[in-house]
Subunit: 339 residues, 2 copies
DNA sequence: GCGCATTACTAATACGCATTAGCGATCCGG
DNA sequence: CCGGATCGCTAATGCGTATTAGTAATGCGC
C-alpha cells in the first residue's frame, strides 16, 4: 500500500481522487504522495474504486441480435460510433449484451435482460427487446434508454430521429423550387418511422399552401410492382412535378420510383424532381445522390448516451428527438417552368 | 439484497458461485435462492466480485483508437465479429474500453490501461497500446491477449495470422501452375506482417526449387511511382511470369502492380499472373478478384478469445497462429507455355 | 446416552478504495 | 490570553461479494 510507503494512508485517495471536495491538502503532502505512488508503481484497483463509489461507470448496450452481425449491412455500427464517443467523453465504458448470448450460463431465458443490471444503466437497440422485461427494469428504477422511438411503452425513455420535421423540410424545399403538386410514395407499413414521414409530408404541404388530399399519398405493399411507368406518366399528366419516397429497410419505394422514372423516360432533375425521406440503399447511394435527408445515426447514439447518463445521474432530462440533416442531392431541381 | 428476500444471506454466494467447493447446499435451499434471485432480478455486482478476488464473466476489449471509428475502412469490425461470437459462446460479456476516452478528465495518463482490471482479462487491439503498461498488467498476473503479432514483448500472449504459411502456399500454387520466375513487390516497412510475408515467399520459392535471390524481391518505399510499366516489361523480358504483392494499409503495392500491368498492356491471367498476399483495398475487391489469401479476421478474434479464456482459467494454453484461407481469384493462371 | 461424523447452513472477515466525521494545530479578532 | 474559525490530516465506516471458521442439527456406532 502506498500509504505505508509515503507517510499517510487514505489521504492517498484524496490526492488521487482529484475531487473538488472541500477537503484541503497541502502541496507538500500532495507531492509526497505522488512521489511514493510513482516509486511503488501504485495503481488504484478499479474494482475497489467502483465498489466504494457505488457506481461502476459502465453503460450497457443491449441488442437482441449480435452487436457485430456478420451481415454488416444491417448493423448498428453507425449508432455505435456516436455511442462510443459520447460514452468515452463522459468516462463510461460500455458493456455489450446480446440477446442471443446473454446470460453467461447460455440460456437466454426470461432472465436475459436482468444481466444488464450489472451496469449503471443500459441502452437498447432495435425493437426486439421484450416489452414486459423492459418495463420491469424501468419500474425497478434502473436507467434505461431505447434507441428508436418507443412511444407505446409508458415510462420508457427513448431517443429518435425527428422524421416529421425532416420530411416537412424536404417538402418545403420542393415547394420553394416551385413544385405545387407533390406525391408521396410509401409502403404499406404502420411503423412510427413510416407514419411520421407521412405526417411531416402532409404538414409540409399544408404549410406551403398545397393540396394534401389523399391523392397525394400513394400507398403500396409492393411498390416495385405497382408503381409502374404508366402510373408515373399519369401523375405527370395530372400536373405532378415532384415525387417523394419514404426510406424503408429494402429501399423498395425509392427503387421503384427511380425505375419508373427511368422507364418513363423522365429526365430526373429537369422533367420531374425526386426526393427520398431518408438514406438510399447502398447500391443507389451515388450517381445521382438522392435529394432528401440523412438520419444522423452517430448523433442519435450520442444523444441516447447523454440521456442515459442523465438518468444515471438521477436527473429527469429529456432529449427525445434529434434533427435530421437535409441532403441537397441531385435529384431535385426547379419545377418545369419555374424561374 | 437477495438474501433478505429469500431467507438466507451469503448462502446466495454459494449457490450462485457454482464452485465445486466442499460446502453442501440442500436442493430445497438452492431452489429458494434461485427463485428469489429470479423474482428480484438480482445480479451480482461485478466490482464486488472482482474485489473479492473472483470472476465476473467480463472480458475487456481495449483499443487505443475508438472501437467504432468514423472511418469504417480501418476498423476492427471483422475481428469483433469473431470476438463477440466466441465470448458469447463461452458465457462472457464484453466490456469496451476505449483508450482515447480514458479518464473523462481527458488526459490519458499512465493509468489509461488500468481500468481494464475490472474485467477478468482483456484483449488488446492495434499496436498503439503502450508497451510498458501492457507488460505491467502481464507482470501483475492479469490475463492479457494481444490481437496481432507482438513478439517483441516478452511474456505477452498474442494471436496472429500465419502469413508465412499463407504466402508459401500462394507461391506453391503459382509454381504448380508452371511459374518458375516470380517477383515479390513489397513496401519499405519492417513490420512483422511484412517481413513474414517475405519469409513465406522465399520459403515457397525454395520449396519449389526456384531461385530466391535478392532479385526476386522488389522493395520500394513508393511502389506507385517506382513500379513502372517499363520495369514490369523488363521483368517480363527476363522471363518473370508471376508477380506477388504484399497487402498493406494503403494497398499501394497491389495497386501499383495492377496499374503497371495495365499500362504495359499485359493481359493479366494469360500473359502474366498476379497474386496478392492478403486482401485487396475495397475499390479493387472484385473484377477481377485477386488470387491470394484472406486473413480470417473473425477466426482470429475467436482464437484470441479462446486464448484469453484459457488464461483467465489459469491454463497456460498457446494458440498463436491462425491459418489463412487461400483465395483462388482470377488473376493467376498457368504460366505461358504451361499445359 | 455419549462421542464423533456428517450435513446444512451462518457469522465473520477480507478485499481496496471513497467518504465522512472528527481531532489537533494554527490563526485571528477582541 | 481566550474563544472560535480555518486548515491539514487521519480514524472509522461502508460498498457487495467470496471465503473460511464455526455452530446447530441430525445420524450413527457402541
Amino acid at each position: 500500500m502506498a500509504r505505508l510507503a509515503g507517510v499517510s494512508q487514505a489521504t492517498v485517495s484524496l490526492v488521487l481522487g482529484a475531487r473538488k471536495q472541500g477537503v484541503a491538502i497541502s502541496e507538500e503532502t500532495r507531492q509526497k504522495v505522488l512521489d511514493a505512488v510513482r516509486a511503488l508503481g501504485y495503481v488504484p484497483d478499479p474494482a475497489a474504486s467502483r465498489l466504494a463509489a457505488a457506481r461502476n461507470n459502465l453503460l450497457g448496450v443491449f441488442s437482441f441480435t449480435s452487436t457485430f452481425p456478420t451481415d454488416v449491412q444491417h448493423s448498428y455500427y453507425p449508432f455505435l460510433v456516436g455511442v462510443e464517443q459520447e460514452a468515452a467523453a463522459r468516462g463510461f465504458d460500455l458493456v455489450l449484451f446480446t440477446g442471443s448470448s446473454t446470460g453467461g450460463a447460455g440460456a437466454a431465458g426470461p432472465q436475459a435482460l436482468n444481466r444488464v443490471r450489472l451496469a449503471d444503466g443500459c441502452l437498447f437497440l432495435g425493437r426486439h427487446a421484450p416489452a414486459d422485461e423492459l418495463l420491469r427494469l424501468v419500474a425497478d428504477g434502473f436507467p434505461v434508454v431505447h434507441l428508436g422511438r418507443r412511444d407505446e411503452l409508458e415510462g420508457l425513455a427513448w431517443v429518435g430521429a425527428d422524421y416529421i420535421s425532416a420530411s416537412r423540410t424536404v417538402v418545403a424545399r420542393l415547394a420553394a423550387l416551385g413544385h405545387r403538386n407533390i406525391v408521396l410514395v410509401r409502403e404499406d407499413d404502420d411503423a412510427p418511422a413510416s407514419t411520421d414521414r407521412e405526417h411531416g409530408f402532409l404538414k409540409g404541404l399544408e404549410e406551403a399552401g398545397l393540396s394534401g388530399g389523399p391523392a397525394a399519398v400513394f400507398r403500396s405493399a409492393d411498390p416495385r410492382r405497382e408503381l409502374t411507368a404508366e402510373r408515373l406518366r399519369g401523375w405527370l399528366d395530372e400536373g405532378v412535378t415532384a415525387f417523394v419516397a419514404e426510406e424503408t429497410d429494402t429501399g423498395d419505394a425509392w427503387r421503384a420510383l427511380c425505375d419508373a422514372a427511368r422507364d418513363a423516360g423522365v429526365d430526373c432533375p429537369r422533367d420531374a424532381s425526386l426526393a427520398l425521406l431518408g438514406s438510399p440503399p447502398p447500391d443507389l447511394a451515388g450517381d445521382p445522390v438522392p435529394t432528401g435527408f440523412d438520419v444522423p445515426r452517430p448523433q442519435l447514439g450520442a444523444a441516447a448516451v447523454r440521456l442515459l447518463a442523465a438518468l444515471v445521474a438521477g436527473e429527469e432530462a429529456t432529449e427525445p428527438l434529434v434533427a435530421c440533416a437535409f441532403r441537397t442531392g441531385a435529384t431535385a431541381g426547379p419545377a418545369p417552368g419555374h424561374p
